[in-house]
C-alpha cells in the first residue's frame, strides 16, 4: 500500500490515563496505517492498549500527542463542527451488540437510527433500506420488529454490523467483535466480514485476542504489547516468520492439537508490574540481554512493510522462530 494515500494513518500516538495515584501509559508511540479496503488486524493481550487505539480513531478519546489522519486530513479538523462526515465514514462494531443497542427500541429502530440522524432516508425508503441492510448481513428482514433481548448473540452481532454499515462507511473499527461467540457463530461472522470487504471494499481495523482468527481476516497485522507496537507487517509473514519474541509467544500459545505440553511452556518469569525503562517485554523474554533492560527499542524495518521493536530482531530467523512446537519434550496427556 506504499504508493496509495492511506485511508487512515496513526502517527506517534500517545495516551496516558491517570487512575488515582497511578498513571497508565495506555498507548505509547503507536504508528501504523490502514489502506483503502484493507483489513488491519490489531492483536495483543488485555490491557495492551487496543481499545484505547480504537477510541482514539473513533474520536472518543483525544491523544496526548501524535496525530491521526483520515484521507490525508488531520482528525481534529474532520471532527470540527458536527464532525458528521467523519462519523459517518468511520463506524464501530463492538463485542456486545445487545448492550450497544437500546433495549427499549426494536432492532429495526437501532439500524435506522444513523440513517435518521444523518437525514439519509425516511418513511418507506427508510424501511426499505433497513430491510436491505438486514438482508446484507443475512438476517430475515422480519427481525426488524424484535427487541434486542429477543434475538440470539449471533443475530445481535449481525444487527450491530448492519447498523454500522447503514451509512456506507469506508472504515469499520471492530473491537473484539467475534470474541464472545461460540465457534460456529464466530466463523459465520468472520465470513460476513470477509464478504463485506470484498463486496463493498470496506477497510477494517479488526481488534482481537485470538491470533488465528485475526490472521484469517487480516491483510496486515499490528501486534501490541504494553501500549506499544511490538511488530507489524503482512499477516502471513508476521505469523509464519515472527520477528519479535512476543509474537512468537502468541503463536506458541495458540490452541493446537499437538499432544504433550504446550511449546509456550510455563513462563513464571513474569513479574507483576512492567519495567519503567528498557523493553517492556524484557521480564518475560527468553532472549533478553542486559541492553534490553535499559534501552527502549524503536521499531526497525526487518522486511518489506515489516517492522519489529526488538533489539535482537535480526537474529530471529525463520528457522529460529518456529521450531519450538515440534521440539519440546513431550509429556503424555493425562
Amino acid at each position: 500500500m506504499a504508493d496509495v494515500t492511506p485511508l487512515l494513518e496513526l502517527r506517534n500516538l500517545r495516551k496516558t490515563f491517570i487512575a488515582g495515584a497511578r498513571t497508565v501509559q495506555a498507548v505509547r508511540d503507536v504508528s501504523f496505517t490502514v489502506g483503502p479496503g484493507e483489513i488491519v488486524g490489531l492483536v495483543g493481550e488485555s490491557g495492551s492498549g487496543k481499545s484505547t487505539v480504537a477510541d482514539l480513531v473513533l474520536g472518543l478519546e483525544r491523544p496526548d500527542s501524535g496525530e491521526i489522519f483520515y484521507g490525508g486530513r488531520p482528525l481534529p479538523e474532520l471532527l470540527a463542527g458536527s464532525g458528521r462526515g467523519y462519523r459517518a465514514a468511520v463506524q464501530a462494531v463492538f463485542q456486545d451488540s445487545v448492550q450497544a443497542m437500546d433495549g427499549r427500541k426494536t432492532v429495526g429502530w437501532s439500524i435506522a437510527e444513523p440513517l435518521v440522524i444523518h437525514k439519509v432516508a425516511r418513511g418507506a425508503a427508510l424501511r426499505a433500506r433497513v430491510a436491505e441492510l438486514l438482508r446484507a448481513v443475512h438476517l430475515d428482514p422480519a427481525l426488524a420488529g424484535r427487541y434486542p433481548h429477543q434475538i440470539s448473540g449471533g443475530q445481535a452481532q449481525r444487527a450491530g454490523i448492519a447498523r454500522a454499515l447503514a451509512l456506507k462507511p469506508a472504515l469499520l473499527v471492530c473491537d473484539e467483535a467475534v470474541s464472545a461467540l461460540d465457534v460456529s457463530v464466530q466463523a459465520q461472522i468472520v465470513n460476513l466480514f470477509l464478504e463485506i470487504q470484498e463486496r463493498y471494499g470496506t477497510a477494517m481495523l479488526f481488534i482481537g485476542h485470538s491470533l488465528p482468527v485475526v490472521r484469517h481476516l487480516a491483510d496486515r497485522m499490528v501486534v501490541m504489547y504494553a501500549g506499544a507496537v511490538a511488530e507489524q507487517g503482512p499477516a502471513e509473514q508476521v505469523c509464519s516468520a515472527p520477528r519479535h519474541p512476543y509474537t512468537r509467544l502468541l503463536i506458541d500459545s495458540a490452541p493446537s492439537f499437538e499432544p504433550g505440553p504446550s511449546p509456550a511452556g510455563p513462563r513464571r518469569t513474569r513479574g507483576e508490574g512492567l519495567p519503567a525503562a528498557g523493553c517492556r517485554f524484557a521480564p518475560r523474554c527468553p532472549l533478553v540481554t542486559d541492553t534490553c533492560r535499559t534501552a527502549d527499542p524503536a521499531p526497525r524495518e526487518v522486511g518489506a512493510g515489516h517492522s519489529s521493536a526488538c533489539l535482537r530482531a535480526g537474529e530471529l530467523t525463520v528457522a529460529e522462530t518456529r521450531p519450538s512446537r515440534f521440539s519440546t519434550e513431550k509429556r503424555r496427556p493425562g
Binding site: E45, V183, S184, H209, P255, S262, P266
Partner: protein, 322 residues
C-alpha cells in the same frame, strides 16, 4: 486400574423446564487422568460438572444409573458427608475469575476460609503459600493481604487453583478455567494444571468450548450437544476420525495458524436442538429421514464411540473436512 469416578446414565432436569439439560451422559475417570468435556454454550457442560460435585440444589432432578466417586455412591451421600467431600476430595475451579471472589475481603482471608471449612487450617498454611508460588504468584505472603481488585483475571484464577488444590483433592473439576483469559496466560495456566496433575496423581474433568484448548491435556474427550454425548473416546482418535458431524463442524469452524487465510470458514448452520430423533439433525448437513425419527445410540466406530446413524458407513466423507 479401577476408576476414581464412574458415571453412567447421568440425567439432569432443571425445575420448570420441559426437557433434561443433560441426558444419559457417562464416563469413567482413572486416578491421574484427564477427561475433556467440550461443546458449545448450552450443551450441558456446566450441568455435568455441577451434578458430579453435587452442587445442584434439591429442586434439580439428578438421576444416574451409577455415579460413584472413590467407590462411594455420590447420589446417596448425606449432607455432612457431602460437605466433607467437597471441602477436601473434590475441588472445583470456575470460569469467572471475578465472580468467584468476594470483593470486600482479602485473597488470603478467603483462602483461609476454604481451609477452615475443610478442617485443614492452620495445618496447610505453608502448603498454601508454596502452592501460590508454584502457580505463578510472586511474593505470595504479601499478595495474600491484597483485595481481589488488585489481582488481574489470570492472577485470580491462579489463586483459585491454589485454593482448590491445597486440600489435596483427588478430583479437580475445572469449568472453563481459562476461557476468560488471554491465550498466553491460558497456555501457561493449563500447563501448570497439567504438571500438578501429573505430580499429584490428580484426576481432572476439564471443560471447554474449544476442543483445541484441551486437546493437549486430556487423553479422553466427551463431546456434548444438546445435553447428549454425541462422541466419546481417546482425544487423538476423535481428532483423527471426527466421527460426528457436530465434532467435524466444531473443528473446521476454528481457523488454524497453519490453515488457509481469507477464505470462507466452514461454518455450521445454527438451529434448534431436536426433541425427537437425533438432537443435531436440524443443523446437520447430512441428516436423512431416519435421523429425524429415530435417536442414534452411542456405538463404537473405529476406536471411538459416535452417536450418529451415518458414522462409519463406507463412502461417506466428513462433510466439513478442510
Amino acid at each position: 486400574m479401577s476408576p476414581i469416578l464412574s458415571v453412567r446414565g447421568l440425567t439432569v432436569r432443571y425445575p420448570g423446564t420441559a426437557r433434561p439439560a443433560v441426558e444419559g451422559v457417562g464416563f469413567d475417570l482413572e486416578p491421574g487422568a484427564t477427561v475433556a468435556v467440550v461443546g458449545e454454550s448450552g450443551s450441558g457442560k456446566s450441568t455435568v460438572a455441577l451434578a458430579v460435585s453435587r452442587l445442584l440444589g434439591p429442586a434439580v432432578a439428578v438421576r444416574a444409573e451409577t455415579m460413584t466417586f472413590e467407590g462411594r455412591d455420590l447420589l446417596g451421600l448425606g449432607r455432612e458427608e457431602l460437605r466433607r467431600l467437597r471441602a477436601g476430595r473434590i475441588a472445583m475451579v470456575f470460569q469467572s475469575p471475578s465472580g468467584s471472589w468476594n470483593p470486600t475481603r482479602t485473597i488470603g482471608a478467603q483462602l483461609v476460609d476454604g481451609l477452615r471449612a475443610a478442617g485443614r487450617w492452620p495445618e496447610r498454611r505453608d502448603a498454601l503459600v508454596a502452592l501460590l508460588s508454584r502457580v505463578g504468584i510472586h511474593d505470595p505472603e504479601s499478595r495474600l493481604n491484597d483485595y481481589p481488585h488488585r489481582f488481574s483475571g489470570g492472577m485470580l484464577q491462579r489463586a483459585m487453583i491454589a485454593g482448590a488444590l491445597v486440600t489435596e483433592p483427588s478430583l479437580l473439576i475445572a469449568d472453563e478455567p481459562t476461557s476468560a483469559l488471554d491465550t498466553t496466560v491460558q497456555a501457561e495456566i493449563l500447563e501448570i494444571l497439567d504438571e500438578l496433575r501429573a505430580e499429584r496423581d490428580l484426576a481432572m474433568i476439564l471443560i471447554s468450548h474449544d476442543l483445541g484448548v484441551v486437546a493437549r491435556l486430556a487423553r479422553h474427550t466427551l463431546v456434548l450437544y444438546g445435553g447428549r454425548t454425541v462422541e466419546r473416546g481417546p482425544t487423538a482418535e476423535i481428532y483423527r476420525h471426527r466421527g460426528h458431524p457436530y465434532t467435524q463442524g466444531l473443528l473446521a469452524a476454528v481457523p488454524r495458524l497453519d490453515g488457509p487465510r481469507k477464505t470462507p470458514l466452514p461454518a455450521m448452520a445454527q438451529g434448534p436442538v431436536a426433541h425427537s430423533g437425533c438432537v443435531f439433525a436440524p443443523r446437520c448437513p447430512r441428516a436423512e429421514d431416519r435421523c429425524r425419527t429415530s435417536e442414534p445410540a452411542l456405538r463404537p466406530v473405529g476406536g471411538i464411540e459416535v452417536a450418529c446413524h451415518l458414522a462409519g458407513e463406507p463412502g461417506r466423507e466428513p462433510a466439513w473436512r478442510m
